[in-house]
Amino acid sequence: MPNKREVAIISAAATKCGEHWDKGIKDLAWEAGVKAVDEAGISGKDIEYLVVGNMSGGMFVGQEHIGALVADFLGLNPIPSLRVEAACASGGIAFSQGCLAVASGLYDIVAVGGVEKMTDVEPEQATSVLSGAMDFEWEAYFGATFPGLYALMAKRYMYEYNVKIETLANVAVKNHFHGSLNPLAHFRNRITVEEALISPMVADPLRKYDCSPVSDGAAVAILAPLEIAKKYTDTPIIVKASVPASDTLSLLKRRDICTIDATVYAANKAFQLAHMERKDIDAVEVHDCFTIAELLAIEDLGFCKKGEASKMVNEGQTYVGGKFPVNMDGGLKASGHPVGATGVKQIAELVKQLRGEAERGRQVNGAEVGLAHNVGGSGGTAVVTILSR
């Protein structure tokens, strides 16, 4: 079913990700919001509707009612402001819902945000909070952690498709390389395959460099119908499709633990709505919460057959400058994973790429069409967004 109106992005901005001791949720949301509004050249008063992605303000900092919080502290009262949650896909879902609001014709200028403050709690507590994204009764209760769940996927994937551990290390090395060129990245250090392979084991076979960090961060995008967006920018970025999909909450109920069916469904639907094909995509931001997830994503999005992503990775095709650039900002691994914000942070990166505004060395030359892929939990939610100049 086609959009009622074409939706476009006027601007999208993100904070740096990291351990921001001096910033709470309000500060992070403010920082990203002001950046986005300034870049858009709009006034806050122009925003008519706000959707915010946030996984767990309650369990990280004791703060719920995030929709009201962001509207209040960005000076946006009394517009409607809602928080949506889909674990690590909260940002992507927020974006897709913001697009719905614009496409419906009921709202013109819509702000979409994502914010997460994860570092106030001890790492064990953060792990516990993130466990809320799995099936609490049948996974967390039995002692599973998120690295554990993705490790189960990785072990089975490596067993079924004969993939070596070096392939995962190559993903981490590439993402750290891109991150080193990104001033907003959580981690700016480059690593080698050797360093990755001897880093401490987290959940066999996933080691420290296979796992995205706990980060604080926020991102905001300003949406409008295309005709209105053109008034504010010469380079409106068109949302060709933004499609969420769901799959089983728990890994144990999945059809195939090496495939995130929600990604497959959302991707197929997105390409259908966008009237586009896989080969039209110039740059991709995928949800590499763990290195294995990047491999699965490339396959589940339909860019290659199941089991064949390792070839692309090992041949260096996924570097900027390669045939199929993936995670030009460093991905979740290096640029950071403030869970509720990540989906919107990915959009901000693609907007930069499509406008040719990314830093040298990590800008995809002549990028015209980009795809963002955001996942919640071990695959219970996926959102696929296709953006185009």
Partner: protein
């Protein structure tokens, strides 16, 4: 982590590996469902107790422990594919790390999952250990 009521709610399923079976199409489910996802309204589900036998579908050794499981680190968790079809997620016990194999036969056993705290409720449930039928040889020797 969990209230007492939440501990109790799925206790029987955790103690005895209970699920459900659709009498219309024969599919078994874990956790138990009231509606068969294949047959929907045409299905008739009844409770079943799984045999506890299965194979390791995938496994991992977790070095970063979740809360309340710190003492048990490193822990082995696995997806076990039960003989009847569904998969469950659980810990593997009585097994050295280097003995783990995808496809290894396992059987359910009854263990402590965690204690809320020193004075709190103890939660019990199923874990899996390598299937070992070697005990039958003690009786064969006697027969001869």
């Amino acid at each position: 982590m969990s209230t007492t009521a939440a501990h109790w709610r799925r206790m029987k399923d955790r103690y005895r590996l209970l699920g459900s079976k659709c009498e219309t199409c024969g599919t078994t489910f874990f956790p138990a469902t009231k509606v068969c996802s294949k047959c929907r309204r045409k299905g008739k589900t009844v409770p079943i107790e799984f045999s506890g036998k299965g194979r390791i579908f995938s496994y991992t050794i977790q070095h970063a422990a979740p809360r309340m499981f710190e003492q048990h680190t490193p822990s082995i968790i696995a997806l076990v594919e039960l003989d009847e079809g569904p998969k469950v997620l659980s810990q593997i016990v009585d097994c050295e790390h280097n003995e783990l194999r995808i496809g290894m036969e396992v059987e359910a056993c009854f263990r402590k999952l965690f204690e809320q705290d020193r004075g709190g409720i103890i939660s019990y449930g199923f874990k899996f250990r390598p299937l070992d039928n070697s005990w039958t040889k003690y009786y064969e020797a006697k027969k001869e």
